[in-house]
Symmetry: C2
Subunit: 488 residues, 2 copies
């Protein structure tokens, strides 16, 4: 298989799909809309999971596991929720196969009395469980997270960004007051923003969704929005204040310190393998992936350039202590001295895979006590002395991590446009990026703008500046700008 990928300029969408498959991140499976996450892609996801899991635990959360299946009747209990998810539910109706003249068929005698939905999200099954766990204010807050697979039947799919099955975490918390629940909602939004910016090196705008874009069943949906290289926005994570909706639907009450019964206040929040798509689309280039060092399965690759067994042996001896010194600093290193591939092939391979730093070492280097160090983000190289190289590489990895964030932030800022008329608005969308504009605050206008331009309101940024203006669509008065974009 050719390792060639297209260019972003020629066809961003094709470039992305080629890259995801050829860099061994994921591929389409035989099951429509479902992907296979390949080992290299899964290794990145594991690093994301570890970092997030630690952040969740550091903020007092614990993990648990709830059933994959949700009885259909549970779904109907929260009206907005079922409305939002009914159209994309995978439904289990039978529990047995049997042999027949036509081969293996579903056994019609093994029909379920009540159909089961494969969870698209777990609010309903979890709140039905919480009813048994919460009696008193002493049981609150309940701060639980789940790592799981979920299924939302999608007609048009794209690796990582939109798949029928995906992996995610979903936090579900219960609180004694609305204030506490709102504070939790915002805290988890901050956790997500910190992770996406500091680990993924992707800058995000924190904001709140308009009612049109809220999670089905939420009173408020907070979000982080990223801007990708093609000028499209991506919702990277959401944190919902659910009010007492699910507590009322599932009759979850607690007695407060005064012994009075009240419904519990809820939040839920999640990020998914979608983040993998954001990562790829933020930093990668026409040569392949560019990974931030904090999430790279290995941060440094060492490639020997040699002739004959004797040459290789000498290089092996030089590389061993370098590798050891790097690993002692917690840096992950791969030494690729396979003789089945040539150095040029390896260089291209590790560029495609986005390894942050490549070290090449040849026989002449041995004489000079030097090595060649190449950084993936800038595709630049320099010759450095071997002595003390571990400190140089450590600093370089930090520099790459920071540089990726800065470059992405600069790109986002340059592509964020402020406009005051519908004409300007359309031109700005043409160019791509976030478009900051006045809107009259009604769902109807939001819907009409979407129909005419495909742009949606990504969010009302938190701590948004108040500013009197006129809606770009209706000319009605507006008191703040909101962020529009074409989104994935």
């Amino acid at each position: 298989m050719s390792k060639e990928i297209g260019t972003r300029e020629a066809d961003f969408s094709k470039w992305y799909n080629d890259l995801v498959v050829k860099a061994d991140l994921a591929e389409h499976s035989a099951v429509k809309g479902c992907m296979v996450i390949k080992p290299y892609g899964y290794a990145i996801w594991e690093k994301m999971q570890q970092a997030l899991d630690k952040m969740f635990k550091d903020t007092g959360h614990v993990n648990a596991y709830f059933p994959l299946f949700i009885p259909k009747s549970f779904f109907s209990k929260e009206a907005n929720h079922v409305e939002g998810f009914a159209k994309e539910c995978a439904v289990v109706t039978h529990y047995r196969l049997k042999n027949s003249e036509n081969g293996i068929v579903v056994d019609p005698d093994a029909k379920l009395e009540e159909e089961l939905i494969v969870r698209p999200t777990s609010e309903t099954i979890i709140w039905n469980t919480y009813r048994g766990w919460i009696q008193s204010y002493r049981d609150l807050p309940l701060l639980i997270n789940q790592w799981a697979n979920v299924v939302r039947w999608e007609m048009r799919t794209r690796l990582f960004l939109r798949t029928t099955e995906f992996l995610w975490q979903e936090g579900h918390t219960a609180h004694a007051t609305a204030e506490e629940a709102i504070a939790e909602t915002k805290q988890m939004l901050d956790v997500y923003a910190e992770f996406v910016e500091n680990w993924m090196a992707v800058p995000v705008v924190k904001g709140v969704k308009t009612p049109n874009e809220r999670f089905a069943g939420a009173l408020d949906t907070y979000c982080i929005e990223a801007m990708l290289q093609d000028g499209k926005a991506l919702q990277a994570g959401t944190s919902h204040f659910l009010g007492q909706n699910f507590a009322k639907a599932f009759d979850v009450k607690f007695s407060n310190k005064e012994g009075k019964l009240d419904h519990v206040w809820a939040t839920s929040w999640g990020v998914s393998t979608r983040l993998m798509g954001a990562l790829v689309m933020s930093h990668s280039d026409d040569k392949g992936l560019v990974l931030p060092p904090k999430l790279a399965p290995f941060q440094v690759v060492i490639v020997p350039i040699y002739k004959g067994d004797e040459g290789l042996k000498m290089i092996n001896d030089t590389v061993a202590p370098i590798k050891k010194a790097l690993e002692a600093k917690g840096i992950s290193v791969k030494y690729d001295n396979r003789d089945t591939q040539r150095p040029g092939w390896k260089f291209a391979e590790y560029e495609l895979k986005g390894v942050p730093v490549r070290i090449a070492i040849g026989e002449r280097d041995l004489q000079n006590g030097t090595i060649e160090v190449a950084r993936r983000d800038l595709l630049s190289k320099e010759i450095l002395p071997i002595a003390g190289i571990e400190n140089k590489i450590e600093a370089l990895l930090n520099e790459i991590q920071e540089n990726l964030f800065k470059a992405a932030l600069k790109r986002r800022e340059e592509s964020t446009q402020q406009v005051d008329t519908l004409e300007q608005f359309k031109q700005a969308l043409e160019k791509g990026g976030f478009v900051s504009a006045h809107w009259d605050g009604t769902p109807e206008t939001e819907q009409k703008i979407k129909e005419e331009t495909k742009a949606t309101i990504r969010c009302i940024p938190l701590n948004n500046k108040k500013e009197n203006g006129k809606c770009i669509f209706t000319g009605k008065p507006s008191e703040q700008r909101v962020l529009f974009a074409i989104a994935y």
Copy 2:
């Protein structure tokens, strides 16, 4: 809710169910046969996962993720496999709900062309994928593991031991030769045995299954078998040599070094949340859980015994450096100084939860520079000086880990019986434990023994001693004893 659990003597099964629920490990969900794994139980499972995952990676495996759904036609491709799993498959037939006069119903217009099976195990979808990944001997071995949920429709369920949905890992490897695949199968059996013995402190017998008990589609199934306190056996893990069955069913070929095409050789191996049941049934007592220190969510709990705020403050000041010194040694500690519960309540609670070591510290202890240290496994206590306590506790945790294993091993050895007649065999089963007996080697006899006594052949132990004898059932000649038991 009462924290009382029954006794093992009175009703082992009730004791187990009570304990699992009341110690906050798991509970039944609203979905028949599916459980909720509660935070305390999930914390133990996470520790198991971490230890196993490291062992898999240390033996060269990487993680990946394959789809939850398997097209029905894939199932039919390996005849024994579909035969083995057809009766317990959850089947997805529709992909949408809709509103109707009768409320939310499954939309009959959204029927799938081909039904999807919720994976009961992933050989078929994985081998269908491997066809695209393997062309040459250079692509082998392929050493992949998956952490996932699976569904097998069970009519009679029991928390952890047999549930419709469970969590597990499944390794799926591909090799160039039968010898390599068999070596892998045995290596992973050893990994499992090492984990179950050294982490869970549960001794196991390593063996091979008879054809009757083989995994559907395997040429050989290796297993580890544990003996629980009630005299029943539990299959704790299996490792399968699959031959070329799945490679042939899914047409997975590779060209060897000579350029000749051949089908690939396969293994698969798995352990599941079933291990949680083995853990509970091996060590726990009538007061509650007993956890091996290596898997306890926290290894030490410290309970202050005080009067008034001033007394608590003095104890807090003394506990802080003790906690710090223990944590510096990598020991996990919980200091429970809540004022909402009395010390006696806390003692009972942490006994129920199986915390390996409990430290109690009162005001008199402050004067003497001592603390009371209680170990959960023996329910014994001693007064120890605070100075250097972290070294004592570290040694004590190791001792508890070892003692649990030794006690379980002693119990197993005492309950393993060797018999030579059917009469003795039945008496031995009555007492419980492993029964070592001669068998004529035929599936028919094995089946008849099962029908008459409910006992199954748990395994033919590896490196079994050859010994001429007569089958206890047919009197026909036999060349080795095998291990029978009543099993979960």
